[in-house]
């Protein structure tokens, strides 16, 4: 009883105190891991920030913040200098974000792609990128002539493995002979390494290339070699107009605007968000006309079905590489299984690096 009473009292004081001057003073801070001009991950977060700014809310950003000892200072400085809501947009900021959140209970924190919410003022958010991968797999399965799909992967974390599996499952559905070849580059952003990996995959017979890294190097390499490719994180069409079939676009803007307004108006609550095609956090770039009208129609239908929930990326039966059943026939994988995914499905070549 008393607890609730206090909670209401405190929130009432907050509402009274903050709603008077909140519109003028309210500020949102963003911490980026890369430069705003990377045309991938950070670029899209920056677009989201621009949308918040366009909604009439003041914002600040700090770019290229290393995920080491410096991150905590930058986050703390933003909290100290009057920012009310802070988005930390890389996995490596997880511990620093929670640490600073402890010392600034009145500041709200939003950490992208992490799983720790140690204090009530920390939310986490990520996107169901794997839904986009399902569409890529469908397209790749139809477009490949060599039945070999090349995949440039960053780190063997669940998010990346989920993408590989979702793509492979969708490709197998339209083309049972498909093989997925993977090169691990162990970096999120290294144009040189990514280009080399793309070339290696092309040399091994892959005629469709996709990547879970941030630079435009793989699509540019594919364009030069005359094979198909997909954009990652942002619409990369202009970097490889012939080669790119479509792009998976991370659209953070609606989420950022919603959360910023909620924090400003005092309705912000801790949550763990995992949005996909349905909410628009995952969007697709324009489809290349080289796919042919029929395939475009098919994919657009699949996109609608994934968004509505009629089709799920991980629908059983799904087997691992050894043939053990992972998801039974007629079942779909639950979010817990997806979040911890650490084995390849059947049809992926090689082992997960250990």
């Amino acid at each position: 009883m008393y607890k609730n009473f206090f909670r209401y009292l405190i929130s009432a004081i907050f509402l009274l105190g903050f709603s008077v001057n909140s519109n003028a003073d309210f500020k949102v801070g963003f911490v980026y891991v890369g430069p705003t001009g990377d045309h991938g991950w950070t670029f899209q977060h920056h677009e989201g920030r621009n949308a918040v700014e366009a909604a009439g809310i003041k914002t600040t950003f700090v770019e290229s913040v290393p995920e080491g000892a410096d991150a905590e200072r930058v986050i703390r400085q933003l909290a100290q200098s009057g920012h009310d809501l802070i988005f930390t947009t890389s996995f490596g900021y997880m511990d620093p974000t929670n640490k600073v959140a402890k010392d600034f209970p009145n500041v709200k924190f939003e950490h992208a792609t992490g799983y720790k919410r140690e204090h009530s003022n920390v939310s986490t958010y990520s996107a169901r990128f794997y839904e986009g991968r399902t569409l890529l797999g469908h397209i790749a399965g139809k477009m490949t002539k060599t039945n070999t799909i090349g995949y440039i992967a960053s780190f063997p974390i669940p998010e990346v493995i989920r993408g590989i599996n979702a793509m492979t499952l969708a490709a197998q559905k339209v083309n049972p002979n498909i093989k997925t070849k993977i090169v691990w580059v162990f970096t999120w952003y290294d144009p040189g390494k990514e280009a080399e990996a793309a070339q290696a995959l092309i040399d091994q017979g892959a005629d469709v290339i996709m990547q879970h890294t941030d630079s435009t190097a793989p699509v540019q390499t594919a364009e030069k070699a005359g094979v198909w490719s997909f954009g990652q994180a942002s619409d990369m069409q202009r970097f490889a107009p012939k080669s790119i079939l479509t792009s998976i676009i991370d659209d953070w803007a609606p989420y950022y605007v919603e959360r910023a307004i909620a924090a400003r108006d005092g309705t912000w609550k801790q949550q763990d968000t995992w949005h996909g095609l349905k909410e628009g956090m995952v969007a697709m770039g324009p489809y290349n006309s080289a796919m042919g009208a029929d395939l475009v129609k098919e994919v657009e239908q699949l996109q609608k079905d994934l968004a509505s929930g009629k089709v799920h990326s991980f629908t059983g039966p799904i087997y691992d590489q050894k043939g053990n059943i992972l998801v039974a026939e007629g079942k779909v994988a639950d979010d817990g299984m997806l979040a911890g995914m650490s084995v390849y499905v059947k049809g992926v070549e090689g082992d997960i690096p250990k």
Binding site: S64, G68, D70, R73
Partner: protein
């Protein structure tokens, strides 16, 4: 016609004074850049150089950032003074962190006062061993230490990548490229509640005192300085050149290893891929800005650390691109080298006469 002549009598006072000139010129140059970018230069410089250290927290962060730079630069000063060009401090830092971090992980479920000293010692030894590679190759196989030490940076970084992705990755960490959090017994004690500054600063101060003692009060220091001034003299005096090369590299590597261990047991608390934002390379600027003098290096490490903090504050308050920090670091080095050049050489502009052309 321009003629360049060596000056014969360079006053030593000026030699220690030019770093200040370089810093003043950098501030002026920075002001001009801010002006060109469309910012009020005075305000921008204030946010850059004063705001970051205007409170206790900011000042403690400055010391935190300066600690590894100071440690590494002290080590490098031994190498540079004796004409050994160790460019790979970043690699020695990384390898020291790997060895020290390995020990910390070994004791992850144990408590004890002896763990942290072991971790620190392991880090120093790790850095030392890694620095011995270019040193041994130089002394016994005549390889170029610049190339070898630089290339070993990538070796150590790839080794760290391999370890945190593979065998040492946190078993409960969903395969993310990082190790477990270290146990409190292998963390540097914090000096003040709520600030990140830790006991590692005493390592840096001890290194400063010790290096001053070695360089100015011991026979080894004398050998190092003579070899730096003239290798031929050193040989003629019968100094054991090979041993000295090994020793300076070991000192340098140990310092870099300590810096690495200080970072992972201090603010970071685990091993992952981003343990150092190139401290090992930035410390080269620090060493030269400090005139390879132990106390000069303290001062230089604070100045260079401030360029990092300033870049962050300037972006937070004025949205000035953060890369301006690297521009500042570059400018400091440029102005320092330029003023050194003018200090040691006279530039004469001669008027041309016809008969002089024949010479």
């Amino acid at each position: 016609m321009i003629k360049i002549e060596k000056r014969n009598d360079v006053p030593m006072v000026l030699y220690f004074f030019t770093p200040f000139i370089a810093i003043i010129l950098t501030i002026l140059g920075g002001g001009i850049i801010f002006y060109i970018l469309g910012f009020n230069p005075i305000e921008a410089l204030k946010f850059y150089f004063i705001t970051p250290i205007s409170n206790l927290y900011g000042f403690s962060e400055l010391l935190l950032k300066a600690t590894p730079l100071c440690l590494i630069a002290i080590g490098l000063s031994f190498c540079f003074k004796s004409n050994n060009w160790n460019i790979g401090a970043e690699g020695q830092l990384t390898f020291g962190a790997i060895v020290g971090g390995g020990v910390a992980l070994l004791f992850y479920n144990q408590e004890g006062f002896y763990i942290l000293p072991l971790v620190i010692l392991a880090g120093a030894i790790g850095g030392m061993i890694f620095a011995l590679i270019p040193a041994v190759l130089k002394t016994y196989f005549n390889t170029n230490e610049i190339l070898v030490s630089l290339m070993l940076v990538y070796v150590s970084k790839l080794l760290l990548d391999y370890l945190v992705v593979g065998p040492w990755s946190n078993p409960e960490g969903f395969n993310f490229p990082e190790t477990r959090q270290f146990n409190d017994s292998s963390r540097m004690p914090l000096l003040f509640e709520g600030l990140r500054i830790h006991a590692g600063i005493f390592l840096a101060l001890a290194a400063v005192m010790l290096s001053w003692f070695i360089l100015y009060k011991t026979y080894l220091g004398f050998q190092i300085k003579v070899s730096g001034l003239s290798l031929k003299t050193a040989k003629y005096a019968g100094f054991k050149g090979k041993t000295m090369i090994l020793v300076v590299f070991m000192i340098s590597g140990a310092c870099a290893g300590l810096a690495g261990v200080g970072e992972i047991t201090g603010p970071i608390g685990q091993l992952h891929r981003m343990i150092s934002p190139d401290y090992g390379f930035t410390a080269i600027i620090v060493a030269f800005l400090g005139r390879l003098n132990p106390f000069g290096i303290i001062f230089a490490s604070l100045v260079v650390a401030l360029t990092y903090l300033g870049a962050e504050t300037a972006q937070i308050f004025l949205q000035i691109p953060k890369y301006i920090g690297q521009v500042f670091q570059g400018m400091i080095l440029f102005f320092l080298l330029a003023s050194d050049y003018l200090l040691f050489f006279k530039v004469k502009i001669l008027s041309l006469k016809k008969n002089e052309l024949r010479h």
